[in-house]
Symmetry: C2
Subunit: 316 residues, 2 copies
């Protein structure tokens, strides 16, 4: 069954891909089994993270880039992290809208993942899902997230090239800086650049970026003005992505970047496992029942912590 | 030696207090010993968190509140988390400026803690330091942090009452919302309210807060306009704090709040310990040496993770 699934996944069967991502989303035991088995086939896809504030036009840009990639006869997978609540079913809705826009091209695979209440483990699941698409032979994987929150930033950090989408409105780039987007962008897009202030926004962005160290071994991010709804500037965006890819490969930085990403990922897998073992129902309730004494000063938090640690050591 | 330190700490000896906080800052074995021994004396101080964007005037407000508390013949401890880099020595400088402002009153104790490079463990150390001041008999503890970043928010969440300081400039409250300050504030201050727009800022803030559920069991945050440099509004701030304290105590929410905070704290202590054991030098370097194989697709991150987990289980 599992072997049959993997065979079909490697044969690029759409239903096997969708089912595999569902396994990965549920993050069960069979998820890590699956990921171990496909891993030899992972590593060929180029991963592009696309982020920015809400309303900047990320989805439109992602769709346009995907269409461009298809014109080059390459296959493209899209994972869009949808920050909707679990109640609205936003992720499903998103799938439909996107699908109808791009059409029924089978060499484009699109999946929305909702960030649901707790963000814990989201970036892990997205990266796992990207591995599934990678093994299924997609040449490019686009990871789209709203640029707010640590977990979203973790996702784009897992990309080879990170694209930050902004709009001309003043203050937007300052927001981006505050949100930590300035540090992670390899390419910046000023979208909706038919609006007033686009040139000025690009210029002030450039002056900020020029303050970063840059030389032949440190990439200086490119800035591209787009009107995504009219496909304006999309070819330039893709050309910047290709330039960045070439830069990473020429400087051997792609390998280094992926090593660092893999390190973070392994640590996250280990820590999630340990945390689950640590905070099992028994220790959770033992902790809860000691809180009253702690608040009344009868037991120190450190003493309670030590007892929990001792119990964990015996248990694991 | 340790017992002598604790005796002097409980006798409110300033040098013993300062030395104890240093022990706690270094977070060594003796730190948890110390905290366990003083814990029976902890729990009487009322903890007030003060946060807001940079430049809102938090330090001035903290100093003014401290002076007011002293006029009521109560003792006050201040922990100011200084977001300066380790290179500027900002925390030390901060101590001096503050000291000279408030004078040489020995019933005010002030300590700046720099948030230095990594923020890991900062909130834990600040809460530990607050326990030291609590045991040393300070009636009020003021925890001042810049409202950016998770660790800073964790600190104010450890307070009984959280005060958010804003200024009238438009957009400021929207920033506060984005940064998660809106959810944590029990009291909001519009400081520098002699500037234009103060009334409007207060009104729009109020309309946002009114959208939160509130009844006799859910606190509706108060809004106070201040000009801290002229001591205007400070008495009102303190009166709001007292009202909130009374509310928490009447509804039994203070105990519940402290239980929740203690739970988070114990979890953090346990997790920090486990994480140190987990990522010891040996496993760190074993992880590093496997990254090359992982990136080349020869070893799955899940396989490497499992080996690290097995090794940890045998080891602990």
């Amino acid at each position: 069954m599992q072997n049959d699934l993997i065979r079909r996944l490697l044969e690029q069967d759409i239903r096997a891909i969708a089912y595999s991502i569902s396994i990965v989303e549920n993050s069960s035991q069979s998820s890590s089994q699956l990921l171990k088995q496909i891993y030899a086939n992972v590593g060929n896809a180029y991963r592009i993270g696309i982020t920015g504030p809400p309303g900047a036009g990320k989805s439109t840009i992602v769709n346009q880039i995907a269409k461009l990639i298809r014109k080059k006869n390459k296959r493209v997978g899209i994972i869009a992290v949808d920050p909707t609540s679990p109640f609205t079913g936003g992720a499903l809705l998103g799938d439909r809208i996107r699908m109808s826009e791009i059409g029924s091209d089978t060499d484009i695979f699109i999946r929305s993942m909702a960030s649901r209440g707790s963000l814990g483990g989201l970036s892990k699941k997205v990266i796992d899902a990207a591995d599934v698409l990678d093994a299924a032979g997609y040449d490019y994987i686009l990871l789209e997230t709203v640029g707010v929150g640590q977990s979203e930033l973790d996702i784009v950090k897992a990309a080879d090239t990170t694209v930050v989408v902004l709009v001309p409105e003043s203050g937007d780039s300052i927001q981006a800086m505050k949100a930590g987007l300035m540090e992670i962008g390899d390419i910046f897009i000023i979208n909706k650049s038919d609006r007033p202030g686009a040139d000025q926004a690009a210029a002030s962005l450039k002056s900020i970026l020029m303050m970063r160290p840059h030389d032949e071994k440190i990439w200086l991010p490119g800035i591209v003005k787009t009107v995504a709804t009219e496909t304006k500037g999309i070819a330039e965006v893709f050309s910047e992505i290709s330039k960045h890819r070439e830069f990473l490969s020429n400087t051997n930085l792609l390998l280094k970047k992926r090593e660092k990403q893999t390190k973070n990922r392994i640590k996250e897998i280990v820590e999630e496992y340990i945390s689950k073992e640590l905070w099992n129902a028994e220790r959770e309730s033992s902790l809860d029942s000691s809180l009253g004494k702690a608040v009344l000063g009868k037991l120190s938090p450190y003493q309670i912590a030590e007892e929990l640690i001792e119990n964990f050591k015996k248990d694991i």
